[in-house]
Amino acid sequence: MRELSLNILDVAQNSISAGAKLIEINISEDTCENTMLIEIKDDGCGMNEETLMSVQDPFFTTRTTRKVGMGIPLFKMAAEMTGGSFGIESAVGKGTCVKALFKTDNVDFTPLGDIDSTIVTLVTMNTHIDFAYTLKVDESQFTLSTLQLKEILGDVPLDLPDVVMWIKDYLKEQTQIIRGGAV
């Protein structure tokens, strides 16, 4: 994957397949320590211990169209090759949490890339699921919560073009603010 935001999109698809109602995506950067923690947490069906062990193996997959599943192994590799770490916690009936820690000053660090596109794609393509996206850079942070948006919008869908445009602009502006750039 050329961007970590694509790994996030890919891993979040697993949460969707797991029947999650709420998916939390947390990105936390520490510019002093040069680290980035990415967390994807869902309340889906979860996995038993045996499945949990095997998802990190590229030759395990639940898909039926072919015999390899590269999603989790690729994300794990992306984290570990920067000198970071990777972990998954899961409980049947409770959900799954995938955490990857990256060392951002390592030459093998893959840039985060267009995370806003990942969030917009997830939110607008899965309007029946709720997402809470938090970006934290040092002490500043913002959250986009679809629960909050839906409360305001009522019956108006999140994939309405005007709403999509609002979400795109909101993400862009908030990201610029916490990254310290001018709007």
Binding site: G71, M125, D159, L160, D162, E173
Partner: protein, 123 residues
């Protein structure tokens, strides 16, 4: 600055539009493969490309959605177009650049762009 208050204005406008909306046509479904293979090959900008183009042209009765692995990973990004009463058209190795032409020629004017489809492989 985008504020939550602006969403209220969008809501009011949308609700007004909903009341006057005519019965929509039979419907065209555009489905983008979004498994690991599709995403790695560049499906995300293709998906947003379709969504943006449909919104820009204000096309009614056209939906864009995602699916898992279609099973021909070497040809990803793959896009399938389903139209009522017509055979499914499968586009392969899609790019954001190809999206505008597929929307204009196929979705709007009903002429599939054959050279982008899976049927072009054998030629």
């Amino acid at each position: 600055m985008k504020t939550l208050e602006e969403l209220l204005a969008i809501k009011a406008k949308a609700e007004k539009a909903m009341n006057v909306r005519e019965e929509e046509g039979a419907g065209t479904r555009i489905v983008v493969g979004m498994a690991t293979c599709g995403i790695a090959a560049g499906a995300r900008p293709v998906l947003s490309g379709f969504a943006d183009e449909i919104a820009k042209r204000n096309l009614k009765g056209v939906s864009v959605s995602q699916t898992g692995c279609i099973g021909m990973c070497q040809y990803e990004p793959i896009v399938e177009v389903f139209e009522e009463g017509k055979e499914k058209v499968t586009y392969i190795k899609m790019t954001p650049e190809k999206v505008a032409r597929v929307v204009a020629d196929h979705i709007v004017n009903g002429n599939p762009v054959v050279e982008y489809t899976v049927a072009s492989i054998d030629k």
